[in-house]
């Protein structure tokens, strides 16, 4: 772990130690680390377990359980293509293929230049204007495969 990440994790844990309420749950601590660091490095399991007084297995268990907890840094931009049923019915599969062709990555991969990470998502509640692609925090509705290249170009 690089020293900047280590310090960020230490500060996050210190913040949680100060809170008087119930014993801090593992998940909120890991989510906070992800928010601060950008991911939850596997090396953080030991310090988190020590700080919370739980076993490393418990921390590792939570880390591996939740899809949103990443153990390596994602690309500069995150593209999430919705594979929920309303999006699938409305040809979301074709939109996904267009994104894969454009970025030349599979789901879960990051482009070699580190700009884009492609992920799938099961529904963001945008079914009324599906199919859906989410780029970083922006939800795009009524997507067509033809719109994909321009959109990924523009957001570069």
């Amino acid at each position: 772990m690089d020293p900047v990440t280590a310090r960020a994790i230490e500060e996050t844990l210190a913040e949680f130690r100060k809170r008087p309420e119930k014993p801090a749950g593992i998940l909120p601590v890991l989510l906070k680390i992800e928010e601060v660091v950008g991911n939850v490095p596997r090396d953080s399991v030991t310090p988190v377990a020590r700080a919370l007084g739980v076993t490393e297995a418990q921390v590792a268990g939570v880390l591996s359980y939740y899809p949103d907890l990443r153990t390596s840094p994602p690309g500069s931009h995150l593209v999430r293509v919705c594979l929920g049923e309303a999006c699938l019915a409305n040809r979301g599969g074709r939109v996904l293929r267009a994104v894969q062709d454009q970025l030349r990555v599979e789901i879960g991969e990051t482009t070699t230049d580190g700009r884009w990470t492609l992920e799938k998502v099961y529904c963001v509640g945008n079914c009324g204007v599906s199919p859906t692609v989410v780029i970083d925090d922006v939800i795009h509705g009524r997507m067509t495969p033809e719109q994909v290249p321009g959109m990924l170009e523009r957001d570069r």
Partner: protein
């Protein structure tokens, strides 16, 4: 001249449809004043812009930035009350949508907000629960459990601490009514939770909001803060603490016991029931866990009385069904109607027919665990009992229409792959069965499958249904088995392709 006030929805899907771009384009136009509101749920019309008129709101649909001159001139607008799609609905929980700023407490109060809470505070705990019993309200999250019974158990329990938990982990694809409620009418959810807290004697409430709904979580946090500043979270000198907790992408955390595990910060693994959360819930304390929509129904129910609620709907399903129609229809959107219309009536009256070029193939009701219906089965009434006796579920009210281009083998494989990814792993039949199910469907998909594989899928499905603890494992076989039942040729044709090769 005063600027003309234009109402522009700020709901996530409206923004995705273009209201954000319109707001950006018109921001510096002096002749208009923009008010961001919730959405009416008529997503096929978005982006929608509305104006006041002496006869009520007038709407312009599918607006582009270039439409501003005709909106300012008041040309070609449609009175909202004349929109048939809205007029045919019975909007109760969703009555206020599309009208005001979701965070305006004044607007919420002006529309009858907090009347239910005031009524509840003047009643005894037992009387509130009795009112719920009279209303015959059943939980809207999927299990359709009588709500009063949970409250009654939690109220009776003797404990120093009790909790109210709103399940905002709306994970069923094709559904978004909870998102709309949290983004568009957050005080309604807050009021419902406060009524519950008052009835069972809880002082803490949590809203477990899925990570995929960041705007909903933000709006709700602001609403809680504003309600607190206005003193609305105090009751008889007791402060009710409400907290929004974010999920982390796990579908199974929508199951109430997995949700509680996750709220406590652990893996979202399902607990065996009983004991039910009403007795042993969050941190082992009595806890009412209900869906966002269920809590949002409570304020009107207390304001208008349980008998009013019970007067709507069918024998076993009282009140309104909140349906979200999507997929290959012309008119996607949120529809609130009394229970009892047939599925065909719902699709005809509100779906508006198939999208251009699309022919109906199947409809799925109740999310990724819901059964598929072919055209011949559409005369089923939309209510809990009819669906239960057909082996189907209404779930959270998601309705997705598939057209002729949908490959049923691919779709069945998608469902099993989804379960395999989402299974929490506690029950072996779900954890292993879903993977084996996916593999069998991949064999069929690739043309290597045999008739035995289809038989094996059936047996596997029966095992999963009978031996899984929660709805995920119990329900996962249904979309697959109904696909095979109604579209068996598509599966068998993949097999015969292999025989031809031989």
């Amino acid at each position: 001249m005063n600027p003309i006030r234009l109402y522009l929805p700020n709901d996530s899907s409206s923004v995705a449809a273009g209201t954000g771009r319109l707001a950006e384009a018109w921001r510096d136009r002096r002749e208009v004043e923009l008010v961001r509101t919730s959405a009416r749920g008529a997503y096929f019309l978005e982006p929608v812009v509305e104006r006041d008129s002496p006869e009520g709101r007038v709407a312009w649909a599918n607006v582009t930035a270039e439409d501003l001159p005709r909106i300012i001139a008041g040309r070609d607008g449609m009175p909202v009350q004349d929109i048939p799609w809205l007029r045919r609905q019975t909007r109760t929980t969703f009555a206020n949508f599309g009208v005001t700023d979701p965070l305006s407490l004044e607007a919420y109060k002006a529309a009858g907000g907090f009347v239910g809470l005031r009524a509840a505070r003047e009643m005894s705990c037992g009387a509130v629960i009795e009112e719920l019993k009279v209303s015959r309200l059943r939980g809207r999250g999927g299990a359709a459990f009588p709500v009063w019974s949970k409250w009654h158990e939690a109220q009776r329990a003797d404990a120093a601490e009790k909790y109210v938990v709103a399940n905002a982990d709306e994970g069923d694809a094709g559904t978004y009514c909870d998102r709309m409620l949290m983004e568009g009418d957050p005080y309604r959810l807050i009021e419902g939770m406060l009524i519950c807290a008052r009835a069972i004697g809880a002082t803490r409430g949590y809203i477990y909001c899925r990570q995929e709904y960041p705007a909903a979580a933000r709006t709700l946090e602001q609403a809680i803060r504003l309600a607190g500043e206005a003193g609305l979270l105090e009751s008889d000198g007791t402060h009710i603490e409400l907290t929004v907790v974010r999920g982390a992408g796990s579908y199974v955390c929508g199951e109430e016991t997995a949700l509680l595990e996750s709220l406590e910060g652990r893996r979202g693994v399902v607990r065996a029931k009983p004991p039910y959360p009403a007795m042993v819930g969050l941190y082992g304390k009595p806890t009412v866990v209900s869906n966002v929509l269920t809590f949002a129904i409570i304020p009107a129910l207390l304001a208008r009385g349980g008998a009013w609620h019970a007067s709507l709907g069918t024998e076993g399903s009282r009140g309104t069904a909140v349906l979200q129609i999507g997929g290959r229809v012309k008119q996607a959107g949120l529809v609130e109607v009394p229970f009892g219309l047939t599925l065909r009536e719902v699709l005809d009256r509100f779906g508006g027919g198939m999208a251009p070029g699309a022919r109906f193939k199947a409809v799925q009701v109740g999310g990724p665990l819901g059964s598929l219906f072919p055209e011949s089965a559409l005369d089923i009434p939309v209510c809990y009992d009819a669906f239960a006796s057909a082996g189907a579920i209404l779930g959270h009210g998601g309705i997705v229409v598939y057209d002729q281009d949908t490959d049923m083998v691919d779709l069945a494989r998608h469902f099993m792959a989804f379960t395999a990814e989402q299974s929490c792993g506690k029950c072996t039949p779900c954890r292993v069965g879903s993977v084996r199910g996916r593999e069998l469907l991949e064999e069929i998909q690739s043309g290597r499958g045999t008739g035995d594989d289809i038989m094996l899928l059936g047996e596997l499905g029966e095992t999963m249904k009978a031996t899984s603890l929660c709805g995920l494992g119990q329900r996962a076989p249904f979309p697959v088995m109904t696909a095979i039942e109604h579209f068996g040729d598509e599966f068998r044709n993949r097999l015969s392709a292999l025989r031809r090769q031989d």
